[in-house]
């Protein structure tokens, strides 16, 4: 193959809209460090402060996601259309997850009827003695 495009200034400096190799490597290093931060948070704190580690790890993940989007996906250098496309999607995604969460609360309050989950499990273990089980429903109407 010939190189017909050489005349278009192949060796020129990077586009105005893009980062330099150095920047990319720096971001990469930051991502790796952040990965280790969440990993060691888990190792050191998970047994004692569960909620805390969850919060830290989610925060770290959000920072990582932001770094990837800003630098690798070039959003840092894009025009303002980036807001139109990314913000609604992000809001919808977060909204969906938040909207599902009341189900958890519901499950704890109504299903378990105020019992703790482990107590609820004991009820399930004794399930054979509740109505609707095979032992008692032989005369049932199902076909």
């Amino acid at each position: 193959m010939t190189e017909p495009h050489d005349t278009h200034g192949a060796g020129e400096h990077a586009h105005a809209g893009h980062g330099t190799t150095k920047q990319y490597l720096a971001v990469c290093a930051a991502l790796m460090i952040l990965t280790f931060v969440s990993f060691f948070t888990f190792r050191l704190l998970h047994n004692t402060q569960v909620q805390m580690t969850w919060a830290v790890m989610m925060a770290v993940s959000c920072v990582k996601a932001l770094l990837v989007m800003l630098f690798f996906m070039h959003l840092k250098w894009e025009a303002s259309w980036k807001y139109v496309l990314t913000i609604p999607a992000t809001i919808m995604a977060i909204f969906l997850m938040i909207a599902l969460i009341p189900d958890i609360k519901w499950r704890f309050e109504t299903i378990a009827g105020g019992r703790t989950p482990s107590e609820e499990r004991k009820v399930h273990m004794g399930y054979e003695h509740e109505p609707g089980t095979p032992a008692e429903t032989e005369q049932g109407g199902g076909h």
């Binding site: 609604p88 909204f95 009341p102 519901w106 309050e109 089980t133």
Partner: protein, 602 residues
């Protein structure tokens, strides 16, 4: 800049006719595996109309059973139930209404609006030669076919087609032993819906790109016809809501095939056998399903609203009243549409506190719909109405949508919903919105754009007969259902007269069934009219209705590439009865006249 053609310029209309002899390969690429948005749109149109008749026949089966329970069902009874004297089984009845709803929603209304009209109209109305991604567009049609095949196949597998309701609520839909139809039929149903989802997703992304990037010069966002706005917002709704349904469908598929239990709770005993490993939550499906399927209700009506706005303005010979408020209310419906899904679940066992939240958002979504109705009414106020068939269907949309919209307020009111939830009141409401609304809009759209699609006019007389019968029989069928619902008549029962409470409602059900049969029969007129006009209808020029929007400046039917000149847009699409010009219409492409900028609103 190319010259702007005259409205009745027939000279170019035939320039694009195809040669008589055509090789098989060329036939395939032109009419079957075509990249042309118009051909794909027509493929969608004809496929969905065929499914429309299938879904309608299934509905008549449901109606027969409700009017004359356990008697010999015509045709079906002889074919499959001769051993019981033609009396259908309750399993079959359950299958009938499940497949009726599934087909009508996923194979008719959604693909006919977005697939057929969206495909055909979007490039024409914004002045583009085709969609942004023609190959993707073709794939979006051909991805419907695996879905079609799944649905057809499901009727013939053991146990029959899906019978878990179109909502497919688990555990009934995800446990094999729960029902005879919960075997292969339900799996095929899930797979069919996944294919439909993939198809719609391809379409919606394509539409969005096309509308954002491929508008003709001068066609600003606020000069787009309402049809395009409806399609655009629908595409956004689909893009955000559909993936959630796809994910949920995959989960149900896994529950059904590899034994996971996303939606199967602990300790479930179905038909004496334990089901799955448990640990899932049945309500989770309902949340995910309605997160899509409530916006889907708007996916099924917003494009029709847009089309109706265009027809009303055209035949009222008057600008659309409140163009921007119309757009904002469509956007408002779409935005609110994402936070109201819980109103399908007031009785589902969801936290009643959540019910209150969803009630408020649901009540408020009536507001943008009300604004739209007022605007339509204001559009025909002080107008010069031309009673074409398309206009009659558009006006009936308004008339019937008022009923469908108002009956929604009953359901949104949580305490009232306690009584009318899962009764025929709901059935009446959904049909007033989907048949009285969307389907009437679709019929109107067919009469309106038929000349553009095929270059021939449809027969107006028979069109009006079709309208008259459909309108009468439609109301006869669905209006009494409000009364049934008020009497507590539950839906989805093979034999409601089993309960003393509902026995006195039998005569009314028989009346409804007679009307339903009449309504089904009236559609034969439409089919005959379409076929006859396709072959023998009078040829029409570019702009038979003297309408403003861009598609009417293209040849009828438009050739490859749509436009034989470069369209440039100078004004909005609703400049009828403008004092600036002598005609009562003022096409978007006509160069500006003196004094226009003073009058311009947009």
């Amino acid at each position: 800049m190319a010259a702007i053609p005259h409205a009745h310029d027939d000279a170019h209309a035939h320039a694009h006719e195809h040669g008589r002899e055509m090789s098989l390969g060329k036939f395939l690429t032109t009419y079957v595996f075509s990249f042309d948005h118009k051909v794909i749109g027509l493929q969608f149109l004809f496929s969905t109309l065929i499914w429309f008749s299938v879904g309608g026949l299934l509905a008549l089966g449901v109606r027969w059973q409700l009017a004359w329970p356990w008697t010999k069902m015509p045709i079906v009874g002889d074919l499959f139930f001769s051993s019981t004297g033609g009396q259908i089984s309750p399993e079959f009845y359950t299958m009938l209404f499940t497949m009726h709803a599934s087909i009508m929603i996923f194979f008719v209304i959604i693909p006919i609006l977005a697939g057929a009209f969206g495909n055909f109209l979007i490039p024409l109305m914004i002045g583009a030669e085709d969609m942004a991604f023609p190959v993707l567009n073709m794939m979006s049609y051909w991805f419907m076919w695996p879905a079609f095949l799944c649905m057809i196949a499901s009727f013939f597998v053991e146990g029959g087609a899906s019978a878990a309701g179109w909502t497919g609520y688990p555990p009934l839909s995800s446990v094999h032993s729960a029902a005879p139809a919960s075997h292969t039929g339900q799996t095929l149903w899930v797979m069919g819906l996944i294919f439909v989802g993939v198809s719609s997703m391809m379409g919606s992304v394509n539409y969005m790109t096309t509308i954002i990037q491929m508008r003709a010069p001068g066609m600003t966002m606020f000069r787009m016809p309402m049809t395009i706005w409806g399609m655009f917002i629908t595409a956004i709704l689909q893009a955000f809501a559909l993936p959630v349904l796809t994910a949920a469908l995959f989960m149900q598929l896994m529950d059904r095939t590899i034994g996971t239990s996303y939606f199967i709770p602990e300790g479930l005993i179905v038909n004496g056998a334990p089901a799955g490993s448990g640990g899932g939550q049945p309500l989770l499906w309902q949340h995910l399903f309605w997160f899509y399927s409530h916006p889907a209700v708007y996916i099924m009506i917003l494009p029709a609203m847009g089309m109706v706005s265009d027809m009303i303005s055209t035949f009222a010979r008057k600008p659309l009243f409140g163009y921007k408020p119309m757009i904002y209310s469509i956007a408002g419906i779409a935005g609110l549409g994402f936070i109201v899904w819980g109103h399908h679940m007031f009785m589902s066992g969801m936290s009643p506190w959540l019910g209150t939240t969803f009630m408020v958002s649901t009540i408020m979504i009536a507001l943008p719909s009300a604004i739209k109705v007022f605007n339509w009414l204001a559009t025909i106020w002080a107008a010069r109405i031309q009673y074409t068939t398309a206009m009659l269907f558009a006006l009936s949309f308004v008339s019937l949508f008022i009923i469908g919209g108002l009956s929604g307020i009953f359901m949104a009111a949580t305490p009232v919903d306690i009584f009318i939830h899962d009764t025929y009141f709901i059935v009446a409401h959904i049909h007033y919105v989907l048949f009285g609304g969307s389907a009437m809009g679709i019929f109107g759209g067919i009469y309106f754009w038929f000349p553009k699609m095929f270059g021939r006019m449809m027969n107006e007389f028979w069109g009006k007969v079709h309208f008259f019968l459909t309108f009468i029989f439609f109301n006869g069928t669905f209006y009494p259902m409000h009364i049934l619902g008020a009497a507590g008549f539950p839906r989805r029962l093979a034999d409601p007269y089993h309960y003393e409470t509902f026995q006195h409602l039998l005569p009314m059900n028989q009346f409804i069934t007679v009307c339903a049969i009449g309504m089904g029969a009236s559609q034969i007129i439409l089919a005959a009219n379409m076929i006859y006009s396709l072959l023998k209808g009078p040829k029409c020029g570019r702009n038979p209705w003297h309408a403003n929007s861009l598609e009417w400046t293209a040849p009828s039917p438009p050739g490859h590439g749509n436009f034989d000149f470069q369209p440039v847009v100078y004004r909005g699409p609703y400049e009828y009865a403008s004092p600036l010009v002598d005609d009562d219409y003022f096409p978007q492409t006509r160069p500006p006249v003196e004094g226009e900028d003073k009058l311009a609103h947009h």
